[in-house]
């Protein structure tokens, strides 16, 4: 039963209140404004005072507008008809195609019982050595790209999406620049995967609050595909916009902020989305690759900081390269023991040497005399950056490992590498 109220008591930011009875928490409502209808969600009940967040924003809402309660929380249609389609943040078609209303599913549903999860074990090969060798990506992982604006993070997302062997790709865009939206569309189309992609796109031109729904809608759909046995890759860009939308609502609701204006439950809110990444026992999986832009290139900013505590690692994108320091795949050890016996040793050994290179570089920049050892490290570091780190390198894991031995052999004698003798005996390439 739908109830209609036509007196809005207060409008503050994107939050309105009405006096109504029989309303339930998180219930959906439609506000009929003179600019068209907007979805709204109940966020607080105080006796008969109902507070709602309006997804199209409070701008232009008038006290005389009608509020229609739908009697249930937000739902989204789920079927194969979604594939190849483009929707906005609240699930309305953006591509001129028909509205979908078959099999409505709940969004923001309960979390998966940990007892029904399985340990992830399939490596997602990307052809990028900084990922495959040093921080392997794993099916069902949740992993953001940490970056500042201007870095090619969307290109990196698209490249991984095309290379990954998944059944379905879901792109959740939050505050996405229109150009970037077109870039994704074109790239996925050229790659021939558009017909198994679903877009939920909120662009920079849309009201900020509407981006709040994007992760939930994308992940609810992903979850249903996964339960039906499909391997789903969800791309979420940019989660910082999502967090900022939450901050806006929290401030309007006069919640006590915890850190730089962000609400105290930022961690919980982000976690409840990222934790949707899962490998279902006996069924499909959800892998989440996100983008978290770091305001002021500051990793201790609350959004990247809380994200880092939630996700299973992160790729630091800086100067067009994935940085070895700070980048981390926490699931790598699930897969890198089964690739090649030297994989782990190369992974740790080369990074330790690269760290030593950075120290020598610093000494050099301060004008100190370089020892033989420093000189070796400098040669090594430059080779490493050129032949491993550069994003244009696109080679399979095994070739990258071979390359690693080759680089080390051309710079060092074996015992300088800190690698175990057995591996050195097996893999050391004696180059003249």
């Amino acid at each position: 039963m739908q109830k209609v109220y036509s007196k809005i008591e207060s409008i503050s930011g994107n939050v309105i209140t009405v006096t109504a009875t029989g309303v339930r928490n998180k219930e959906l409502a439609v506000v009929e404004t003179r600019y068209g209808p907007s979805l709204a969600e109940v966020i607080r009940l105080k006796r008969d005072e109902v507070a709602l967040q309006v997804f199209n924003g409070g701008r232009g809402v008038s006290t005389g507008d009608e509020v229609r309660f739908m009697g249930e929380p937000m739902k989204v249609s789920f079927s194969d008809n979604l594939l190849g389609r483009i929707f906005d943040g609240s699930g309305r078609p953006r591509d001129g195609g028909p509205e979908l209303a078959d099999t409505l599913i709940e969004i923001g549903g309960p979390s998966v019982n940990p007892a029904r999860r399985i340990v992830p074990q399939n490596m997602v090969r990307t052809g990028i050595p900084m990922i495959d060798v040093f921080n392997s990506l794993v099916e069902s992982q949740k992993l953001p790209i940490f970056s500042v604006s201007g870095e090619p993070y969307n290109e990196l997302l698209a490249r991984i999406a095309l290379q990954a062997e998944v059944d379905i790709i879901i792109l959740g865009g939050m505050g996405l620049k229109y150009d970037d939206y077109l870039f994704f569309k074109e790239t996925l189309e050229k790659g021939g995967v558009l017909s198994r992609t679903v877009f939920f796109v909120h662009t920079a031109a849309d009201p900020v609050v509407e981006s709040l729904l994007v992760p939930d809608v994308s992940l609810a759909v992903a979850e249903n595909f996964a339960i039906h046995g499909r391997r789903v890759l969800v791309l979420l860009t940019d989660m910082t916009n999502f967090a900022d939308a939450m901050k806006e609502i929290a401030i309007t609701m006069e919640q006590v902020p915890s850190n730089r204006g962000y609400p105290g439950d930022l961690y919980t809110q982000l976690a409840s989305r990222y934790e949707k990444a899962v490998d279902f026992e006996g069924s499909g999986s959800i892998t989440i690759l996100g983008v978290t832009t770091m305001p002021g290139d500051d990793v201790t900013h609350p959004v990247p900081d809380n994200t880092g505590y939630i996700t299973e690692g992160q790729f630091y994108l800086r100067n067009g390269r994935i940085e070895p320091f700070g980048s981390l795949s926490r699931l790598k050890q699930q897969v890198n023991g089964k690739t090649r016996p030297d994989h782990r040793a190369i992974m740790d050994g080369m990074i330790k040497l690269y760290a030593a290179y950075k120290e020598s570089l610093e000494k050099k920049s301060m004008g100190f005399k370089m020892s033989d050892w420093d000189e070796k490290l400098l040669t090594y570091g430059e080779m490493f950056e050129r032949e491993m780190m550069d994003l244009s390198v696109n080679i399979p894991l095994e070739a990258a490992l071979d390359k690693g031995w080759e680089i080390m052999a051309s710079c060092f004698v074996p015992e300088e590498t800190g690698l175990k003798s057995e591996l050195i005996d097996q893999y050391w390439t004696n180059k003249v």
Partner: protein, 570 residues
Amino acid sequence: MVSVEFTGEATMNEVCYIHSGGKRLKSEIIRINGNVADIQVFEMTTGIGVGDDVEFTGELLSVQLGPGLLGQVYDGLQNPLPKLAEECGFFLDRGVYLSALNETKVWEFTPSVEAGAKVEAGDQIGFVKEGIFNHWIMVPFQLGGVLTVKRIVAAGGYTVNDTVAEVEDEKGDLHPLTMVFNWPVKRAVKCYAERLKPSETLITKLRIIDTFIPVAKGGTYCIPGPFGAGKTVLQQVTSKNAEVDIVIIAACGERAGEVVETIKEFPELLDPKTGRSLMERTVIICNTSSMPVAAREASVYTAVSIGEYYRQMGLNVLLLADSTSRWAQAMREMSGRLEEIPGEEAFPAYLESLIAAFYERAGIVRLKNGGNGSVTIGGTVSPAGGNFEEPVTQATLKVVGAFHGLSRQRSDARKYPAIHPLESWSKYTGIIDEKKTEYGRSILFKGDEVDQMMKVVGEEGTSLDDYIIYLKSDLLDFVYVQQNSFDPVDAAVEPERQQHVYDILMDILTAKLDFAGKDEARTWFNRVRQNFLDYNGKEWKSDEFNKLEATISQLLADKKIGAEAYAEGF
């Protein structure tokens, strides 16, 4: 949070159920004001409406204590998750609460007292076999005064709910006892004779901990560190290797995937000492980050209550909580909803006292029957921005006995475990003579100084002697402080081996070495390091182990020309 108008009485921390949409949603009273109770709901609050009925139970939030806890995987409210999965499938449906213990399993009960015996709360009246342990059936902890056993059943098979004894209290009231009872999670169990000072080292088999910053049975320690520095891995290896009877893992507001690793791995791993699966000594309390936040707050208390229960049987329990910051954040969320006056970073003003009270529940105790039992608590802390100057880290540091601080710099450089050897500290005694460990520390300290200095004056401005100290410190760091948790041998090092290897290192660290120049010194140390690394990977006392040890001794003999002045006394 929900506010409820009530008639009659309400108790702080009383459990109630909201009847909404055909479901009963478990909640707890967290504030009472006049006839309004504020309650936190242990479930998602979607669909709750004004006017819904609330049922008050009169019971405080409690754990069920009895045989069958070991090997279980519970959520923060002690719902058994595998059982729940059988019932509800992939997802955690709201409003489904199952019994924590298997109610149909028959246990072989052996009485240990006779009718007429005088007993008190926490005293043993009989036992059942739970895995390798004698699981003592005890007089419920909340029964006061001296009780008289009126009746006790004969040895035989009983379920947890069968009455096994009847006791009479001082007032003459009779209490039937089963093998299970409830205990309010937020109250510490105190049915012991006295608390002792933690003095015995709790062996973790991690060199840096056992040697330099030890943990004691019945003690407390914390592991603060930025994200990705290795807190969880550290706790995972500790949970496998620590020499204790029982491990309780409280996965509090962190990733579900990490718990899954433990759930899947532990049943396959054998405890070398008992030959039984590790799962048989483990209880997992798992309230991960996407599970309801109020239950997360409860989860650490559920965990410690179970720990205290097994301590009361004379066992050594290790509770590992990951992460206490998520627990603190859960309190912050609740406090915010209650619109309490916020303290620093919006944490509630009472944060410090709650953290202190939680760690206070650790301890080694002498039981009334003369035996000892202990609960050791190790908690990770996840400081915002990796900065230890924040309320949770600071409040924790005030109360714990050891601090294992993880460093971003060390984890970035893949120096695992990334515990900072100089900044970390412990008040407990370790497995190696303190004089020797102090010497090792001083080498690390001096090496660090030389390293800092070299950054200013360069290598050429550093004397050969200083440079050698730096190389010694680097060696100690590389082959002893660092440890490879993914190497089958190096992952867990017995105390005996730690002592042996430390002595060999001491020989090198105290030696005066003869080098023509820095390059020769570096080359020699590289060679020693290489051999040591291989040595660390060999089985204790195997042929290869002995051979490498001989090689290392020979390398030292080649260059040693006496003892350093700074090594006087060794």
